[in-house]
Subunit: 283 residues, 2 copies
């Protein structure tokens, strides 16, 4: 793969570029971004070699789509209109149903591989890009059978080099499960942050009381609002369901406390302790 | 300080012992614990030199109380009955009102300093003890004026050596604010863990989808249920208040999503983003 185009050169696209530099040093990396400042930054950070436009995509071996998911569904069909016969297009979005539907009957559907590398940090923009972000992470691939085998092959080898573990799933299941495993955590963190800020906004000193436990639980509340609004919009039904269950569990916990049922409180926590085993292997 | 007694030799007491080894190498450290296995473990790990009982406390220079807060309120008055004239007793509990009230009119009140070092991990027991746990952490001291100045002095110097930053607060304010800054995070994490486990218990593969974001948000759900039941019991009123506000914020977020008000969702997250600045300086 000689010519690689990254559309959206922020945390996700930029980190991918850093790994490309390492594993495909001979490739030329082009950046496409509506934010001109990001292009300049990405170039000065060495993430990309040059800026490009959609018209150039005909020369691409690989196109990486790393933009907010609700924009990606509109951009992807157009990208597929511009590519060459042997171009592979991958996306990196946190939702998979809408994007797979958007190109289901596109004549170049076989040039597209729907991916979701479960990796990220709470930061954003080209300067947040880090080498090795994808190392040891799970990459969920959806509808793999709809992508030309020859094209899959070359990128799966690259993913492997980057240290990713591949999992195959249908887009509907992906969106349902990822709502529990990722999207709900973000709402939980954002609302924890809001609750504390609302209460303590006039008491700066109070934040000296924040320990590493609070910092860890609230970390995702630093995440990019544009990225996440886009995800919540696209995965609305699944996310609402997880949110309902979460609120119901919190109300149950509250009712146990109000009833002074502290044995019940203890058992709730003990039963949840086995999240330990589940999390084994995740840093 | 030659003779130091640690009552409760788990994560908190054990980590304190590790720092004592470094900063007061000449001191003899005794352990008191109702869990005999913990005493054996603590001794083999070098956290303590020998086991002791309450009767020995008359010889103590320093007694460190590091047991669940609802037990501490009963143990502390008895400890004060057994100490010598120049013994200082400190506690390490996450709630301060009940313990200060429990000894308010005790004849040895001036031998007690109410402390809350905001430090910990999600693990427990002597084997979880780590050196340097208190380094860079805030230690909230309550009712400092009720402790004999000479006795305060020697332990404040030790805290400083361990790298702690001192803050002074009344116990009622402490318990109110710590409910937001620490206790609520634990409930939020435990119920997130519960929601996900309930949903996904029959789908082991799904946990491959857990990324570092989920791991961070749910981390505190590994915490010790005995420690935390005890804290929720003692700080019930404040914790219930934070929990109500948290649930109200989650319901509001849910209502915005149901109404397809994604500009509102965006603004909620953007307003909370400034948790970044608040968390600056917390690892």
């Amino acid at each position: 793969m000689k010519n690689i185009y990254i559309i959206g050169i922020g945390l996700i696209g930029g980190s991918f570029a850093r790994d490309l530099r390492r594993h495909l040093p001979e490739a030329t990396i082009y950046g496409i971004d509506t934010n001109e400042q990001h292009i300049i930054e990405a170039q000065s950070l060495g993430l990309i070699d040059a800026a490009a436009t959609q018209k150039d995509l005909v020369k691409a071996d690989l196109v990486v789509l790393a933009i907010p998911v609700d924009i990606a569904v509109h951009v992807l069909p157009d990208v597929l209109n511009h590519i060459g016969e042997n171009t592979l297009v991958i996306d990196m979005g946190s939702t998979k149903q809408a994007i797979c539907e958007a190109v289901a009957s596109h004549p170049q559907r076989r040039n597209f591989l729907a991916c979701h590398p479960i990796a990220g940090t709470e930061f954003s923009g080209p300067s947040a890009a880090i080498e090795g972000l994808y190392n040891g992470k799970t990459n969920i691939v959806c509808e793999v059978e709809k992508t030309a085998f020859k094209l899959q092959e070359k990128v799966l080898e690259l993913f492997k080099k980057m240290g990713m573990r591949m999992r195959y799933m249908d887009p509907v299941s992906h969106d349902k499960h990822i709502a529990y495993m990722s999207h709900l955590s973000h709402i939980s963190a954002f609302m924890l942050g809001k609750t504390v800020i609302n209460k303590e906004k006039n008491e700066r000193d109070i934040f000296d009381m924040a320990g590493s436990g609070f910092a860890s639980t609230v970390r995702l509340a630093k995440s990019n609002p544009v990225t996440w609004t886009s995800i919540f919009k696209q995965n609305k039904t699944n996310v609402l369901k997880t949110l309902e269950e979460y609120i119901a569990n919190l109300n149950e916990f509250k009712a146990l406390m109000e009833a002074d049922n502290f044995q019940g409180i203890h058992d709730e926590m003990e039963n949840t302790n086995h999240i330990k085993e589940i999390l084994n292997g995740i840093k």
